[in-house]
Amino acid sequence: MDCFMFPGQPLAFPTALPDDGDFFTIAELVRQRTGFDLYSSTWIRDSGTDNTGFQLHGVAMSLYLNRKKRAEGSQPAVVAEHSMGIYAALAASGSLAEGEAIEVTWRLGSCMAKMGETGYYALGCIIGLTSEPVLALARNCGVHLANHNTSRHFLLCGTREKIETAVAEAVAHGAFSAKSFPCDAPLHTPLIQELESPLRQILAEYQYWEPSCILVDHLEQKRLKAHDLADFMFRQLCMPVYWEKTYRSLVAMGIRRFHEIGAGDALKKYNRWIESEMTR
């Protein structure tokens, strides 16, 4: 069984883009639906943040690579997703059209970006520490766990000042790497709940079709059905991504072939780490 895995948003604009008809088609969809030009990474209609632009680049690259894989004859039995990868995953599983996946990425991203007008937020990427000290320093610093990617790879999220403190503490505790990245909103934390009403309203405006293959969620590793999707998409913004649990559950399902359908290869690298611990 093949699994298509859809990664979350990149943390920077890409330095190069594919130069073919499929990508051009996706870029046109992005331009029409959102007013963002992927080729210049600029907003041509209204204005938006860099982070929303990163999210659009992420979903566009995933949709493009999904098209390429399909053209090669590859069909997923299972689709898994990490964070913002859910939007392209919904298109890949037939629950949303490509244009809708792009549009919902932009609308949700723009809605969350409003939090950045009144607060400063950041992500803290902590590598090398185990979960116990990471969770302890998150509590001490008043920030939240946003991703549990492997036993040694975590993402924290919170206000920029507190994340800087948490990153410094992680280094002091012996983290192999600890870095912060600014973001518009405290993704995957309970702080997003203050936007519950507008976010749920956006999500309620779409019709979700039944997934054409098994679609596994990253919160509870359950099979998502059409009627779960709007609620899941809101809840996942308020809760951490549990990638290690997700990957282990996919392996337990008997999946052996994984394809990362998106920018970069972070999920592949997380899987490599998890597998190395599974075989020890």
């Binding site: 990427c125 590598i127 090398g128 040694r152 790879h153 280094v171 012996g174 983290a175 192999f176 790497s177 600890a178 870095k179 972070a266 690298k269 997380y270 490599r272 780490w273 190395s276």
Partner: protein, 85 residues
């Protein structure tokens, strides 16, 4: 430092990072491992830390040391030669 150790380090990189289609001879000894060279990142670096400990019994204790050790295959081999028991 022996060429044998250099090749062992290259093989460690290929095995630890599961780089498909690459052989020892494809990796330049003095090329940077991060950024332009092999394009490794912090996730890869931690995998190499574990690999070095398992293969050579050598510990990279912190990020500061890691930044020096993982500059190139040669700096990795130098560190291993100096610290292995």
């Amino acid at each position: 430092m022996s060429e044998q150790l250099i090749d062992q380090v290259k093989q460690l990189i290929i095995d630890s990072l599961r780089i498909e289609g690459m052989e020892v001879g494809d990796i330049e000894t003095d090329a940077p491992l991060f950024g332009e060279g092999l394009g490794l990142d912090s996730i890869d670096a931690l995998q190499l830390v574990v690999g070095m400990e398992k293969e050579f019994g050598v510990v990279v204790p912190d990020a500061e040391t890691g930044n020096k050790v993982f500059r190139s295959v040669r700096t990795m081999a130098d560190y291993i030669a100096e610290h292995r028991k």
